[in-house]
């Protein structure tokens, strides 16, 4: 316990320098600003703003700013979900259900405020959880050999597939496709440039941000343009901002339950943040004495999922920080940012660079605080932004994407590369293929190959190494069990129900 507080104190000393607070603030502001734009989720936002942090001298500052962008983008997404009924990403789909209904009844203000308070509460709890659980997990990670790492990644990817919505087979195929795309570029062992077609820029592999922008940014824009629908934005009648005392009381328990659920599911490999908001909504509906209010503007339906979502988003940092393995596409971008600053994510970061590690963790809390301080007074501004018609917004989004893509390597090649990925993303959308698992596979591709090779070299080509080591066997069995479970008819039906909230 004492250790915990001394660690947090070190973190606070790092994160609370004027510089770091300033950049955390800038990150939260920029993140919210772009996250509020309809159809842009945290992933595309971070991909767009990632290059801005490359130039920073201090990696701690860069990561703190990125984390700020992440929370900001997520909160911005909730704002859009509540006011325009347009979720920026899957995890805010649930917020549209009751948040938008509240907005239609002139209670957009309280909905936005409760979302902010719930997120702040969840963020505070999750920060302590990370601080408490990261050190023991890092210890465990030092016991991992290559076989365990490989098995862990298999488990993570399988979990990502199970937690994604839609067809499991397609999600699996997307993961494998992503792994294959990750193979493009120079093979570290042999120095051979694989699948590069003698294009020099391809020997370094494809930039993750390019794939994210193409698939999530451009693909989304094209799909939005096609729909030609007119959107209702609740701007004139947001109502008073502060929730009433009874609304506040109604939200306390859902927030606490949502935080518990989100913290737990967020640690799961595969990014439980999405699942946690769905699960929290289902839970609130179940425990409510008046479940018929849900879907018609029940404040519990905003408070619970928003807290769960934020708690999950935050605890998903745990596997990345302790094991060095990103479990969500957003974490993958964080890993990419760390590597740019010559930090290899993994259990050693905590011991070799404690200020960075603890500074990042404490900055999460500061970021959440700034989010509340910033957003409540600025809600009016975000609403103004939402009244800008889409025909003016999307060229601006395109602009930020292409300039962002260019600045990755100061090369127009990356701009050209967004085009095939936009087409691919568009095709995926038309064929109901969820792109998030692909991105995760892409990030893990080279790492997985590396660990597989090492494990097999040590075992001299004996595949049984993965099942004779107990830790590795356990993880592979868990992955298998997950796969078997989702294919069981009864569970498959339940799973469909859990995700079908968004269609109803």
């Amino acid at each position: 316990m004492e250790q915990l507080f001394s660690n947090l104190a070190l973190g606070l000393a790092t994160a609370a320098t004027p510089d770091n607070i300033f950049f955390c603030f800038v990150g939260v502001l920029l993140g919210t600003l772009i996250g509020v734009l309809p159809g842009i989720g945290p992933l595309a936002t971070i991909a767009m703003l990632l290059p801005a942090t490359y130039k920073m001298a201090d990696p701690t500052t860069a990561l703190i700013m990125l984390a700020g962008i992440y929370y900001g983008a997520q909160y911005g997404g909730s704002t859009t979900a509540i006011l325009v009924n347009l979720p920026g990403e899957i995890s805010s789909v649930v917020t549209t259900l009751d948040g938008y209904q509240m907005a239609r009844k002139g209670r957009a203000g309280p909905a936005l405020a409760i979302a902010a308070f719930g997120s702040f509460f969840a963020g505070t709890v999750a920060t302590f959880l990370i601080a408490a659980f990261a050190p023991p997990l890092s210890e465990l990670a030092f016991k991992f050999g290559p076989a365990e790492y490989f098995a862990l990644m298999v488990l993570g990817l399988v979990a990502a597939v199970v937690l994604a919505h839609g067809s499991i087979l397609k999600a699996l195929a997307m993961v494998v496709f992503g792994l294959l795309l990750g193979m493009i570029g120079t093979d570290v062992n042999s120095g051979v440039a694989r699948f590069s077609f003698d294009i020099p820029e391809l020997t370094d592999g494809i930039e993750l941000a390019v794939i994210a922008m193409g698939m999530f940014g451009f693909g989304e824009i094209i799909a939005n343009l096609e729909q030609r629908e007119h959107r209702e934005v609740f701007t004139s009648n947001v109502g008073r901002l502060m929730p009433s005392w009874s609304e506040f009381k109604q939200s306390v328990m859902p927030s606490i339950r949502g935080t518990a659920l989100g913290s737990l599911l967020g640690v799961l490999p595969g990014g439980g943040a999405v699942l946690s908001s769905f699960a929290s909504y289902a839970l609130e509906k179940k425990v409510s004495k008046t479940p018929e209010r849900f879907g018609h503007g029940a404040i519990e339906g905003v408070a619970g999922p928003e807290s769960a979502n934020n708690a999950g988003a935050q605890t998903s940092f745990i596997p990345m920080l302790t094991l060095g393995i990103p479990t969500t596409p957003v974490m993958a971008l964080m890993v990419a940012a760390m590597m740019i600053h010559n930090i290899q994510p993994g259990p050693q970061v905590m011991t070799s660079n404690p200020p960075l590690f603890w500074g990042l963790i404490t900055s999460m809390w500061i970021g959440n605080l700034l989010l509340v301080v910033l957003n409540l007074p600025l809600i009016g501004l975000w609403i103004k932004l939402l009244t800008v018609p889409y025909r003016i917004l999307y060229p601006a989004i395109l602009l930020f994407c292409v300039v962002g893509a260019y600045s990755l390597n100061n090369n127009v090649f990356d701009v050209y590369m967004t085009i095939p990925f936009a087409i691919l993303g568009y095709v995926f959308k038309k064929l109901d293929c969820e792109p998030a698992p692909l991105l995760l596979g892409f990030v893990l591709g080279k790492l997985m190959e590396e660990y597989l090779r090492r494990a097999m070299t040590i075992s001299r080509g004996d595949w049984s190494v993965f099942v004779t080591r107990p830790l590795s066997l356990t993880m592979l069995l868990m992955a298998l069990a997950l796969l078997v479970l989702v294919f069981l008819p009864a569970i498959a039906k339940k799973r469909e129900e859990a995700f079908s909230e968004e269609e109803s």
């Binding site: 496709f177 094209i222 300039v403 080509g461």
Partner: protein, 153 residues
């Protein structure tokens, strides 16, 4: 046998083709052995897995339990205009500089909207260019020409 889910059918075909493609392309590299894996080993494995998954999805499209799904129409106009504007930006940036490349990007991509309005686009172009100049050229000092290179040199 009747196709129930056309989206699954084509997704299956796509995954199968990509899987086979990666397998074939891998064969130009060394395979190695399980104990000493060459650069072709892992991609070949993955390619085979992807092709098998593609086949399974393809077959699943005929399954009785599958949902009825038709293919959606393709918005060629939106797709081509947006991507064309991006390509033009990449083409123009090194030669004509940021300002002209952005004007073209915004102008061409704006045409993709069914609510296109010349007045709005002109207005937002001016604002966006001014903002880009301040943020990208002055603030972040990104490495690209701002004006056409033949004018500045």
């Amino acid at each position: 046998m009747r196709v129930r889910n056309h989206r699954d059918l084509w997704a299956g075909v796509m995954f199968f083709v990509f899987g086979v493609l990666f397998m074939v392309l891998s064969q130009q590299y060394k395979m190695g052995t399980a104990g000493r894996m060459g650069p072709a080993y892992f991609p070949t494995m993955l390619g085979a897995l992807l092709a098998i998954l593609g086949l399974a999805i393809f077959i699943g499209a005929y399954a009785k339990v599958n949902r009825e799904m038709k293919l959606e129409s393709v918005g060629w106009r939106e797709l081509s205009l947006v991507l064309f504007s991006v390509a033009l930006f990449a083409l123009l940036l090194p030669l004509m500089g940021m300002v002209i490349a952005l004007v073209v990007l915004i102008g061409v991509s704006s045409l993709a909207s069914h609510e296109f309005s010349l007045k709005d686009t002109a207005g937002s172009t001016v604002v966006l260019i001014a903002l880009s100049y301040l943020v990208f050229a002055k603030g972040l000092e990104l490495q690209f020409p701002v004006w056409p290179t033949f004018l500045t040199h």
